[in-house]
């Protein structure tokens, strides 16, 4: 048993504390927007925010997430208004299959928090998510658009 704060709600999850946060989010809380891609923090599909930082939730245990503010893709839009990254993603039609995009969007939202006007070099250094459909050209355009929004 552990108590997690996800998208502003305090929730009891009935798991072994060594369970990765990803699986508590998906299987206990039922928020499936956060994806499993590799399980070893290589692909970024599972990216969420923990105390405002972009984190790969497949390698973070539930016990280490206790007492922290966790935000998932479902909690990024505030009061039904899309986050500026989501808005830029709509305008630039970024997703193809879309499976990696929750993690990509969370990673980008994290970057913009640190660097509101990132350079291409900033983007290259901090956005390391894998997208097998290959949406990177639109991702870069949309990041710059979101930064200007």
């Amino acid at each position: 048993m552990a108590r997690l704060t996800i998208n502003g709600r305090s929730l009891e999850v009935n798991v072994d504390p060594s369970t990765p946060l990803l699986w508590a989010i998906r299987e206990q809380v039922g928020l499936t927007g956060t994806k499993y891609g590799c399980g070893v923090a290589l692909c970024g599909a599972c990216t969420v925010h923990v105390d405002g930082m972009a984190v790969r939730s497949c390698v973070m245990t539930v016990s280490s997430a206790v007492g922290k503010q966790i935000t998932t893709i479902e909690g990024l839009a505030a009061n039904g208004v899309l986050h500026k990254v989501q808005k830029a993603w709509v305008d630039n039609e970024v997703p193809q299959c879309g499976y990696c995009q929750s993690g990509m969007i969370m990673a980008v939202a994290g970057l913009l928090k640190d660097k509101p006007r990132p350079t291409d070099a900033d983007i290259d250094a901090s956005i390391t998510n894998i997208c097998r459909c290959g949406t990177f050209q639109q991702v870069r355009e949309a990041i710059h658009a979101a930064a200007k929004a």
Partner: protein, 726 residues
């Protein structure tokens, strides 16, 4: 645990399941007939493709699978073009394969591979839209007591021109659905298209940005259990034994079950519990004779094929061997292409519920009908007791088209837990070890130049694996696999763009125990590298410019030449490149589209390659949605260049060695070149979009790498040579 009703369930049950059962029992006479066929919400179906709700919402049925390539939107555009409906009121849904069987394949082919989604169904989906429009207009005319010829339709509104009266599709849909459909409808002249050719926004974007899109891996059904699976790591091996008792006491674990004779699954309350228990489960494998096979033994077998007497001839004219024997200059090279895994971001999965009377399966597939057939086979139940519901795919790339192995596994597990839905989800490791790999191929090329440096002969000997031998042996032609020659054929939708006076292209088939599959682009990936890099080698040997050398061979191939010229012009071929930047070209005909690329690269420290820009052109005949075509071009380059630089599945002791992205890497945003697309549809034919362009990225970059370094690399991926993409 919070249970959500899967959205896909609502979307896919286009006719209530009771209605489907009744239809099957009565031999439902649809799509066309006097009785109205209704969607689950009661809205009338005008044709199999079109349902119209009273509020004017237009539901367009899509038989092909959307996996990111945009076919859902493109096909809807084609139906809507002829339907003359209000595009802002269009939504889509998938018919199920069970309904397709009951309705004598009213929606045609479900298979979504070979870049065929639009090019193979453009005619009948447009007819589906046009037929519905004629019926809606007739219904309005009947209500007004006027001739239909006095009425017109636009934007879901029907107007009686002489009186100015109007009505909407939603208002006449009930009456229209009762009409006998016209036998023949005429389709618009392409010059009159308003929606086809327009970069309308995709219909499926929003849910992908908010976490609301349900993929197969996200499905939840009431009372569902979760399964993790391990198949024998050596292809063809079996399970000898496993010690279920070692894990049955672990919290959450419900069952430990064999799956066929080669795999074991743990079924638990949650997937993480199942996976953790499976990791702890002692399994003894009977690996069989394939455990002796390695990449080295496979390479030796293929090498022997390069000079073998027997080979299947794919393309031949003149006498290539004589031309080579009489050559003033003979150029020879051997290339080799590795096994590669698809590695879609969403690992394989399927959710099955079995009882002795009914088997239902939900999952991501590129071929709903093949998945349905797998359900029938694995469950042992007849078609009217089975159903398969397509769920959105987290990538396909060919992995989920010819093989429905994960569907079969899910059913075999569910049969051992009757009445309880079970979701099977593979680990990434399982996905890497049990792919259906890009075939392995070697190629020996010998070219003949005469005293004036004209190319007089070419022999291209392929040696390696046949995909059709594994997936569709009935499609072999007297043993020959025609797909091996994609891009090298004399004619057809994969025709070579060069006229060479003496030509021989043949294939020594050398199959391995590693199962091959259709991998985005299929065999044209390696064929484009072999041909287009070797043509560059020939041009270099002839002391000629790579573009001019090609042009001389292409005068009888104007469409191939047009795309090549387009990229050369846009990239500034022949003009100085930025300092340190070098260019390379490639062109092919691929999936009935003509494609070309000009890559610009720089190389530092001899091994760090920066691909700055790729100018790409495609002539797909008709461009349904140019913005989506641009995205497919850029995306295909990510897939193709990841493969070129980083991706290889090696075999050791009969099994694949790479288990995750640490050893099987994929491009990141930092490595992404600027892709400039030239979409130049010339009309009169229909070419593919999702796959065609992938094949020109690698040879264009390799030719640019040669221009920069003077080095020809002929075995892949480039990481094996210490060459990195930066």
């Amino acid at each position: 645990m919070i249970t959500q009703t899967p959205k896909v369930g609502r979307r896919s049950f286009i006719i209530g399941s009771a209605a489907v059962g009744a239809g099957l029992a009565l031999g439902l006479k649809i799509p066309f007939g006097a009785s109205v066929v209704r969607a689950q919400d009661g809205s009338p179906e005008i044709t199999a493709w079109v349902v119209i709700r009273p509020d004017d919402t237009v539901v367009i049925r899509i038989a092909r699978s959307e996996m990111g390539q945009g076919t859902l939107t493109g096909l809807a555009q084609m139906v809507a073009e002829e339907l003359e409906c209000d595009w802002s009121k269009v939504t889509t849904e998938y018919p199920t394969p069970g309904q397709s069987v009951a309705r004598k394949r009213a929606w045609g082919d479900f298979s979504t591979g070979g870049s065929r989604g639009i090019r193979d169904s453009h005619q009948y989906v447009r007819q589906g839209g046009a037929t519905a429009r004629v019926m809606l207009v007739q219904a309005a005319a009947d209500a007004w007591g006027v001739p239909a010829s006095e009425c017109s339709a636009a934007n879901s509104v029907i107007t009686h021109k002489p009186s100015g009266r109007t009505t909407t599709y939603g208002k006449v849909a009930e009456a229209a659905a009762k009409l006998t459909p016209p036998a023949n409808v005429s389709l618009k002249d392409p010059k009159d298209w308003k929606l086809i050719g327009k970069s309308v926004k995709r219909l499926d974007t929003m849910d992908k940005l908010t976490g609301m899109q349900v993929y197969g891996a996200d499905l939840k059904l009431p009372g569902m259990l979760n399964a993790a699976i391990k198949d024998c790591p050596v292809f063809g091996g079996k399970v000898k034994s496993f010690e279920a008792a070692k894990v049955t006491g672990i919290p959450g674990v419900r069952h430990v079950v064999p799956v066929g004779d080669s795999a074991v699954a743990v079924v638990a309350d949650t997937w993480w519990q199942a996976k953790t228990a499976l990791d702890a489960l002692p399994i003894v494998w009977d690996e069989g004779p394939n455990a002796q096979v390695s990449s080295a033994t496979i390479a030796e077998m293929l090498k022997a094929g390069l000079d073998a007497e027997q080979a299947f001839v794919g393309n031949q004219n003149g006498d290539a061997k004589a031309a080579i024997a009489g050559a003033v200059k003979k150029i020879e090279a051997v290339y080799a292409y590795p096994f590669q895994n698809h590695a879609p971001m969403e690992p394989m999965n399927a959710t099955a519920k079995y009882t002795p009377d009914r088997c239902e399966v939900w999952g991501p597939t590129q071929n709903g009908e093949a998945a349905f057939a797998a359900v029938l086979d694995a469950s042992g139940l007849p078609a009217d007791k089975c159903e398969f519901y397509k769920v959105h795919l987290g990538g396909g790339f060919g992995r989920r088209v010819a093989y429905q192995d994960y569907v079969t596994q899910a059913v075999l597990i569910a049969k051992q837990v009757p009445g309880t839905p079970v979701k099977l989800l593979w680990t990434r490791e399982e996905d890497m070890l049990h792919g259906r790999y890009h075939p392995v191929m070697q190629c020996k090329l010998v070219g003949a130049l005469d005293a004036s440096n004209n190319l007089t002969g070419l022999h291209m000997r392929l040696s390696g694996q046949s995909i059709l031998s594994a997936v569709r042996p009935a499609a072999l032609q007297d043993g020959k696999d025609p797909l091996t020659f994609q891009g090298l054929n004399a004619t057809g939708d994969f025709a070579i763009g060069y006229t060479i006076p003496n030509l021989l292209i043949d294939h020594a088939m050398r199959n391995t125990h590693v199962p091959p599959g259709f991998w985005r682009g299929v065999n044209i990936n390696q064929n484009a590298i072999f041909l287009e890099c070797f043509v560059d080698e020939l041009a270099h040997a002839a002391g000629q410019d790579a573009l001019e050398f090609r042009r001389k061979l292409m005068s009888k191939h104007p469409k191939h030449l047009a795309v090549l010229n387009a990229v050369a012009d846009r990239a500034g071929w022949g003009k100085p490149a930025p300092r340190g930047v070098y260019r390379g070209l490639a062109q092919m005909m691929s999936f009935n589209s003509y494609v070309a690329a000009c890559a610009e690269v720089s190389v530092t420290a001899g091994n760090k390659v920066k691909v700055h820009r790729i100018v790409a052109a495609t002539d797909p005949g008709y461009a349904v949605n140019p913005a989506q075509i641009e995205r497919q071009i850029a995306g295909s380059f990510v897939y193709g260049l990841s493969a070129l630089f980083m991706e290889e599945c090696t075999v050791k002791a009969g099994r694949i060695e790479q288990t995750n992205f640490h050893a099987y890497d994929s491009m990141r945003i930092a490595q992404m070149p600027k892709v400039e697309s030239i979409i130049m549809p010339s009309g009169g034919f229909w070419g593919g979009v999702g796959e065609p362009t992938i094949c020109v990225a690698a040879p264009a970059v390799l030719n640019a790498f040669f221009a920069a370094t003077g080095k020809r690399i002929r075995t892949f991926p480039l990481k094996n040579h210490g060459v990195q993409m930066v």
